[in-house]
């Protein structure tokens, strides 16, 4: 395997007394879709900002394209496409002008930019909004324009910080479809998310972050296999019955997680677990059986729900 595109060793970011990223190690290879999964405040965005060279690292080592962000920031950024968590489109410019000026920031010749704008507007399904101001666009459209803008310079690495947060399901699926296409065409993607389904859909490999640390690493499938049994039975109870629940369910093997309104039971055979519950005369208000997901991996690792 060739040298990793991004390599971090003991990478640390501190804001005053607050430790945002705590000595993390990771390697991101060319052509892979690499995910950072974690709740808000886990340190995902701080890590992204260090990779994009806009945030100086506090300690440790980081190379991007084999270059040092502190010394070769410009050279690194020239090959990056960045989709920030919050859209920062240029509101004083039109849709096409937003793409155009980013091409100019990258020193691209005007003719190349014009050709590229046509392609990217089509890719982002915004061709008919080319001369529109940015402000009236929907959330999904703005997001797609931000992604198109990140691709103007034909980047070697595209960094997407929570690309679908705040979008409705339809807009999310359209966006996933576009990102999937990028991936198929060989782009290297770094994606942060707090949605398990997004990580499962898009990422070849991911790390789970919590409180500035990496707590697990692997492919979505590996992580689920390693940390969570095959199936999950969710038992929902009214609030008043949640008290003392751990004693009543303590006999369950494979482990349980007790949340505010429900108990999550990990099992390799959901049917058997359900039968056992009936035999022991345990009748929750509602029972839900499902396959285990990355959410369960996260719960197992941290004892907390991911989306909060």
């Amino acid at each position: 395997m060739s040298e990793p595109l991004v390599q971090a060793r003991g990478l640390t970011k501190r804001f005053g007394d607050f430790l945002a990223v705590d000595a993390v190690d990771f390697d991101i290879a060319k052509g892979e879709a690499f995910g950072f999964l974690g709740p808000n405040g886990a340190g995902k965005t701080s890590t992204m900002k260090m990779i994009t060279t806009v945030s100086p690292i506090t300690e440790g080592k980081l190379t991007v394209f084999g270059l040092d962000p502190a010394a070769d920031g410009r050279r690194i950024r020239q090959r990056l496409g960045v989709v920030p968590q919050e859209d920062n489109l240029d509101m004083e410019l039109t849709v096409a002008e937003n793409l155009y000026i980013y091409g100019r920031y990258h020193d691209m010749p005007r003719a190349d930019i014009r050709r590229r704008i046509t392609e990217l507007l089509e890719f982002a399904q915004l061709s008919d909004r080319s001369d529109s101001p940015v402000e009236p666009l929907s959330g999904g459209m703005k997001r797609r324009l931000t992604i198109a803008r990140a691709l103007i310079n034909e980047p070697d690495l595209v960094i997407l910080d929570e690309p679908t947060t705040g979008l409705d399901p339809q807009a999310r699926h359209l966006l996933w479809d576009r990102l999937y296409r990028l991936k198929r065409e060989g782009a290297t993607l770094i994606i942060t998310t707090h949605y398990m389904d997004e990580a499962e859909q898009l990422c070849d490999r991911l790390v789970v972050m919590d409180k500035g640390k990496i707590v697990a690493e692997g492919s979505p499938r590996q992580l689920i296999a390693q940390y969570a049994p095959r199936e999950v039975v969710e038992l929902r109870y009214p609030e008043e019955q949640m008290e003392g629940i751990s004693e009543r369910l303590g006999w369950l093997e494979g482990g349980i997680e007790i949340l505010a309104d429900r108990v999550i039971v990990y099992t390799d055979d959901a049917e058997a677990t359900q039968r056992e519950l009936t035999i022991r005369d345990i009748h929750p208000e509602q029972v839900l059986v499902r396959r285990s997901s990355l959410e369960d991996v996260f719960l197992k690792l941290t004892g907390r729900s991911l989306v909060d």
């Binding site: 804001f15 806009v54 945030s55 410009r74 950024r77 020239q78 920031y105 034909e154 990028l182 782009a187």
Partner: protein, 269 residues
């Protein structure tokens, strides 16, 4: 609708060390749509010239100009109005407009993920304010010439002179903007520029002020701007001119240095 995307096949292009002019390109795109707004920057000093210069000029035929040489009142006040408008124009551009992009639209956060740097942004924005200022000054200069208010061809130096005034105020304005927290703070901007406009020997010579106040007036950067443009416009030169130019130049350089440093600290955390 298959589109070939993205993964670069061509090697990365050459690096351009200087790219502050990309900000000009951006601002050009913005302002070509709102060119009418730009016109107001031209009319403001012209209206002042017509009302104060010509009106009061009827009552006060002559005042002592630079070096005590008596000059026509309208010719006395015109270069000062040019200086004041250079100040107002660049301060407006580097405070309100920049604050909007910096804090609300987060325009610069996006720009910094490209090869652009915060120094490019600082130099680009100050430079843009100067280009605008130069356009206004040229237009105002034409009005002055047409009204016969200039003494010699030396008066053409008022244009670069006005740009220097813009540089001094624009970079200090940008530096000040990096300290602003909310729109309320902008009341302070007019609290500074308004008295500067009124009390910088703009409408009457320094000698009119009480002796005790004069050193205070000399601290006003606009006073140096006014005196410099007056010297150019009336073609009266002496050694004080070097002092005025140095004052404004140093002020501009210090402002630009602070602005660039502060902007970097704000944008790259």
């Amino acid at each position: 609708m298959s589109v070939s995307l993205p993964t670069r096949l061509t090697p990365p292009g050459r690096m351009t060390p200087f790219r502050a002019h990309r900000i000009w390109e951006r601002n050009y795109l913005v302002y070509r749509r709102v060119w009418k707004v730009i016109l107001t920057g031209f009319f403001e000093p012209v209206f002042y010239l017509f009302s104060i210069g010509i009106g009061i000029g009827e009552l006060v035929p002559e005042v002592p100009g630079p070096g005590g040489v008596p000059v026509d009142y309208t010719a006395f006040v015109a270069p000062a109005l040019m200086a004041a408008s250079a100040m107002n124009g660049t301060v407006l551009e580097t405070t309100f407009n920049i604050f909007f992009r910096l804090k609300f639209e987060k325009t610069y956060d996006g720009i910094l993920t490209t090869p652009m740097s915060s120094r490019d942004i600082a130099i680009g924005e100050i430079g843009w304010a100067l280009v605008r200022g130069a356009l206004y000054s040229t237009a105002f200069f034409v009005v002055m010439v047409a009204m016969g208010l200039t003494a010699s061809w030396w008066a053409v130096l008022t244009i670069p002179g006005a740009v220097l005034i813009g540089f001094a105020f624009g970079s200090v304005g940008l530096a000040a903007t990096t300290y602003m927290r909310s729109w309320q703070d902008f009341d302070l901007v007019s609290l500074v520029t308004m008295p500067l406009f009124l009390f910088s020997a703009t409408f009457y010579p320094l000698d009119v002020y009480p002796t005790a106040i004069r050193p205070l007036i000399r601290l006003s950067p606009l006073y140096h701007g006014n005196e410099m443009l007056r010297a150019f416009s009336l073609g009266i030169f002496d050694w004080t001119l070097a002092g005025h130019i140095t004052f404004l130049l140093v002020m501009g350089l210090i402002g630009a240095f602070i602005a660039s440093r502060r902007l970097d600290g704000l944008l790259r955390k």
